[in-house]
């Protein structure tokens, strides 16, 4: 059995090593070198790239990224929970609703983000519509701010909270909710005392699935946030393109990864699978 198992595991293991471990090692290696004059890296070895991250300028970018990811995650959970509950209780139409939730994945995320630009910009559908209706005279500033980024993130990642929440709500023993009512608990009390605690695994899974990619996002912040909203993802991207500081970009992306991993382990409960 054992040799056979190794044989079947080998291709996946090789792929993981080539596509994850090796690039990671390269990034790690680069982050400890000095930037080259025209991109690339040079000697000598240094830890300066990591020290630079403690500069208040970059600290602010990190904080802002965490803030935006946290707000987007919270909104996804608050909006996703009622939706997941509705789907879990819609009987035979469950599968239809679930496919509607994942329907947006059939189109590229890039295209969907551009679609939001067309909706939100000064000459976009919403502003021209409101102006035509005479409700506003000057366009509302809906694009190129933190709000637009959060909107784009919530829109893009909502399904990632709905699906795990749906999975836990669907398994939730209905007699527990009846028992709560039977013991004198009105619906809102049952929600907080019984339903949410029992959905904790789904809430954690949904939060991780949204928070981690939001933390590293650069497309949404680039397109919907404009030059005003620089997040860690944009910082890293910049270092490898315009700024030509590969070692600093490598250090920033490794730090982001380390923080995300640390958070993952912090919210993980003893004996519980992550996802």
């Amino acid at each position: 059995m054992k040799p056979l198992r190794s044989l079947f595991l080998a291709p996946a293991a090789a792929l993981m090593i080539v596509t994850i471990a090796v690039p990671l090692a390269i990034i790690c290696f680069y982050s400890l070198l000095t930037r080259g004059a025209y991109g690339g890296v040079e000697r000598p070895w240094t830890t300066e790239n990591y020290r630079l991250l403690f500069d208040p300028l970059y600290g602010a970018i990190f904080l802002r990224s965490f803030w935006i990811a946290a707000v987007a995650t919270a909104l996804c959970l608050v909006l996703g929970f009622p939706l997941a509950l509705f789907i879990a209780r819609s009987g035979s139409r469950k599968n239809l609703y679930l496919s509607l939730v994942i329907l947006p994945f059939w189109t590229s995320f890039l295209i969907r983000t551009y679609a939001w630009m067309f909706l939100l910009r000064d000459t976009g559908l919403i502003n021209t519509g409101l102006q035509a209706a005479g409700l506003i005279h000057t366009p509302l500033p809906m694009l190129y701010n933190d709000g637009a980024v959060i909107l784009g993130l919530v829109y893009g990642y909502l399904p990632f909270t709905v699906l795990p929440l749906y999975a836990t709500l669907e398994r939730l023993d209905k007699s527990l909710l009846e028992a709560a009512a039977d013991l004198g608990s009105p619906p809102w009390n049952t929600l907080f005392r019984v339903m949410l605690p029992l959905c904790a695994p789904g809430i954690r899974a949904g939060a991780i699935l949204v928070f981690v990619p939001c933390l590293g996002t650069y497309l949404t912040s680039d397109l919907l946030g404009g030059s005003k909203t620089i997040l860690i993802g944009n910082l890293v991207q910049n270092q490898f393109t315009a700024a030509r500081d590969w070692p600093f970009g490598a250090a920033a992306s490794l730090t982001l990864m380390a923080v995300a991993m640390a958070l993952l382990f912090a919210v993980r409960r003893q004996g519980e699978e992550l996802l």
Binding site: D173, S175, L176, E178, A179, A180, A181, D182, L183, G184, S185, P186, N189, R193, V194, P197, L198, A200
Partner: protein, 320 residues
Amino acid sequence: MDAILELRGVSKHFPSHRAVNGVSLEVQRGAFFSLLGPSGCGKTTMLRLIAGFETPTTGEVWLNGARIDHLPPYRRNVNTVFQSYALFPHLTVRGNVEFGLRRKGADGIEAHVERVLEQVRLTGKELRMPCDLSGGERQRVALARSLVLAPDVLLLDEPLSALDPHLRKQVRAELKDLQRRVGVTFLFVTHDQEEALSLSDRIAVMNAGVVEQVGSPQEIYQRPRTRFVASFLGTINWIDGIGVRPESTRISRERPQNGVNTRLAVVTECAFLGSVVHVAARLEGGEALVAEIPPQGPAVSPGDAVHVWWNPGDELRFSP
């Protein structure tokens, strides 16, 4: 008599079937009242109508002199012990028992919890989680968290069916004892005739959404009003349309004396059960029957031609 719970012409119709059909019922204060019937007879729906998980299509439910059928479950002073117990898995034994008390905002929660846990013999297990308890202990937590709220009626939905068979008899005795001590009215749903007969003060036998008969266990067993009640409680031999219980059916090799009803039969099987012998026989007409005879009587064996007889007074008759 003082009825604590009263159902007046209660019906519950689901799109697919009629679960309960015009049931009227009175449950006396302090009684151990059983709803007995086969699965699908509507007894669990009745319980859910009283608890408030379903609203009746027609009819009224009265509790302690007030109409309750329009109230949500959390505003009815009845509590339920669920078939699967439905303990909150994220709360300790104490947390489960306190759940309802906290909502009520009662004083001296701790003293209440302590007393009820003592009543169900769970003292010392306050901090256990439900998953660390045995089936019997879980059932007692379910009882405790309902009883601590001092309900007017405690509803029990087949609470013994989730237990091991060997535990069931012991728990049955404990349940009866507990009911006597706390004095709360129990409405007990079961499909097990032995449970109903041994526990109840009164039994309502249900079939296909209607109550066929209400009475004491003795009345129900000895004077069943319908064929369904007669055959659902205990075994019954049907001989020419007349019902005779196995314990009233006699078997002998010799022709019995006059004044009894008798038939000729052939023994097909004998089973010695210690205190009684079950003799299965086939009448000349082909009908099978069972007789329970004392083991010290004359032995019969399969293939013997015998007389089957019974006293006319032991016959059970039903209006068609």
